[in-house]
Symmetry: C2
Subunit: 342 residues, 2 copies
């Protein structure tokens, strides 16, 4: 007759197992475990002990079925491989994990069909909301206004201004970078950056030029667009030094490019930062700390983007009706490649 107390009977223990073991009714057991006040302390203890013995965990599915909310959200990324999704994902996971919501992860691999498939699957699981993480900052198609749950776009904003998007501020990033170089006493600043097809590249360049203009200065030569690679950084640096040997700083569109630039400077016996300061964007540790000297870089605060998206989604689930694109600040992380002239 140990059946009621046998946890291995058949699947996880249910509330009625607990109630039976504690010798109370279902409702009382429920109240006791959920901290409802209408239950005698001694009874509550008995129920709790029973639940403990059976290692009872309330079935969230059943609970969600009743409540209408599941405490579950979908995280839809378009590119897990890329390194930008990860910090955002971590920030979101972090913000949610603090509360009691669980995250469904789906990777659409940049495929719209697959994305649609995932959205359907997630809706079938009755997620309370969706976060859509892009792989680059260019605007992306909206999932549509007809979804039964709120959606927040992170990193890549939605093309539909009625949607809510959280993105890093790349224009400000460009400004901050130039401001830092100016503060280091540099005035002949060149800009080598990545693929001009990326909005991030154009915005960072625009921010940089605006900040220079505010200071009554201009870039040395035009911004050099190319690719997001060390190889391009090396090639562009070589051309730059040939044409403008007077540069005293190179602002690079990414840490990868910056590493390439630093290498070429070393090879040509320019001292960094004494002769030429160098800085990048993204603050990608593996690169910034391996460089000689370590790279100053603009951190886009992606974890914060993830956290903010999660919080915005919380708000939306609770009924808040925000929309539009919200930009988040970034910050300069100073290292040896731009130490001020002494």
């Amino acid at each position: 007759m140990a059946q009621a107390t046998d946890p291995s009977r058949s699947g996880p223990a249910t509330l009625s197992d607990v109630a039976r073991l504690a010798g109370v009714s279902l409702a009382t057991a429920s109240k006791a475990l959920n901290g409802r006040s209408q239950v005698r302390a001694e009874t509550r203890q008995r129920v709790i002990a029973a639940a403990e013995r059976l290692s009872f965990r309330p079935n969230q599915l059943a609970r969600g079925l009743l409540a209408g909310r599941t405490g579950t959200v979908g995280l839809l990324t378009s590119d897990l491989e890329g390194r930008f999704s990860i910090p955002i994902l971590m920030g979101a996971e972090d913000a949610f994990g603090a509360g009691e919501v669980a995250v469904f992860l789906c990777d659409a691999r940049g495929d719209a069909i697959r994305e649609q498939h995932h959205v359907r699957a997630l809706l079938g699981r009755r997620v309370d909301g969706l976060i859509v993480v892009g792989s680059r900052t260019d605007p992306r198609p909206s999932l549509g206004r007809e979804l039964p749950v709120p959606v927040v776009y992170a990193y890549a904003p939605s093309e539909d201004p009625a949607d809510l998007s959280i993105v890093p501020d790349n224009v400000e990033a460009g400004r901050l970078a130039v401001d830092h170089l100016l503060a280091c006493g540099r005035t002949r600043i060149a800009h080598i950056t990545g693929d001009p097809g990326y909005l991030a590249a154009r915005e960072r360049a625009a921010g940089a030029e605006a900040a220079l203009s505010d200071a009554g200065l201009a870039l040395v030569g035009a911004p050099r667009f190319g690719m997001w690679s060390e190889g391009w950084g090396r090639a562009a640096a070589a051309m730059l030094l040939d044409k403008h040997p007077e540069v005293d700083a190179v602002l690079c569109g990414s840490d990868q490019i910056a590493r390439g630039v630093v290498e070429v400077l070393r090879e040509r016996d320019h001292r960094v930062p004494e002769d030429v300061a160098v800085m990048g964007f993204d603050n990608w540790q593996v690169l910034t700390s391996a460089s000689r000297p370590p790279l100053t870089s603009v951190d886009m605060n992606l974890e914060q983007v993830g956290r903010a998206a999660a919080q915005a989604l919380f708000g939306a689930i609770a009924g808040a009706r925000r929309s539009g694109v919200q930009t988040l600040s970034c910050r300069v992380v100073v290292r040896g490649s731009t130490a001020a002239l002494s």
Copy 2:
């Protein structure tokens, strides 16, 4: 009276909404939509049309409540930030995504307490199984044998041999690397690797020495353990060249170390690969392709580890009772840093 057909009435449409709109009973609607054969073709069409009009998605929670299975698994990583979890995670997501199971992602950040918390939360959501992804290949504590669902450990095996673990074969990786260098005609091979506290470092070294021994050779000097960084690669390479200028190949414990080694060789005017061949482990694109020349590296096939873990979990959920540590093969990706002597 358009209430029944109004999708915006209150939350998502339910099966009874569909049944009402189609003018049939709940049971018939269910049969029609699930392809049961006991329903007239014309009726089925009517139901499907109604479901379409209401954009009805069956509530998987309700379904799971009844079925006992939720079509859901938990992916418990201990370190999202590190780059090893991601490919594994992608492989698993991929293997699952093909079917109809959704993945809950949790990051324990290397904290056992947080991990325990996540396990409880996942069990509360009635996941059908768990995949535990480690951040390094050293064995980790088991979640225990008392869990109500199957568990598969990936990358880091469980300390309990009764658990099932899927890990890359680092010993074989070491052997393959040396075999490749031998095939390139190298015989004076040195080994610079990372933190000796990592099993991966020790196993790769052991595999390398075994392969050399099989060929009647030995390493040039002892394996040089240190850190997983370019900086260590540079320092160790400098010492190595001072002491053993005769080396014709350096096997490096990681791509980062290898990059450092290549840099020092360049600076000292040794040609790579003509004078000294260099190779690393992990096949981390960002590093291998930025290096001059591009780095040969051993790919640990981590995506496959993730996929295999997912498939093993499938099997376990279906009732298979495997246990022990299963190792997966890796592969050498040849690039310019080891091109055979001509």
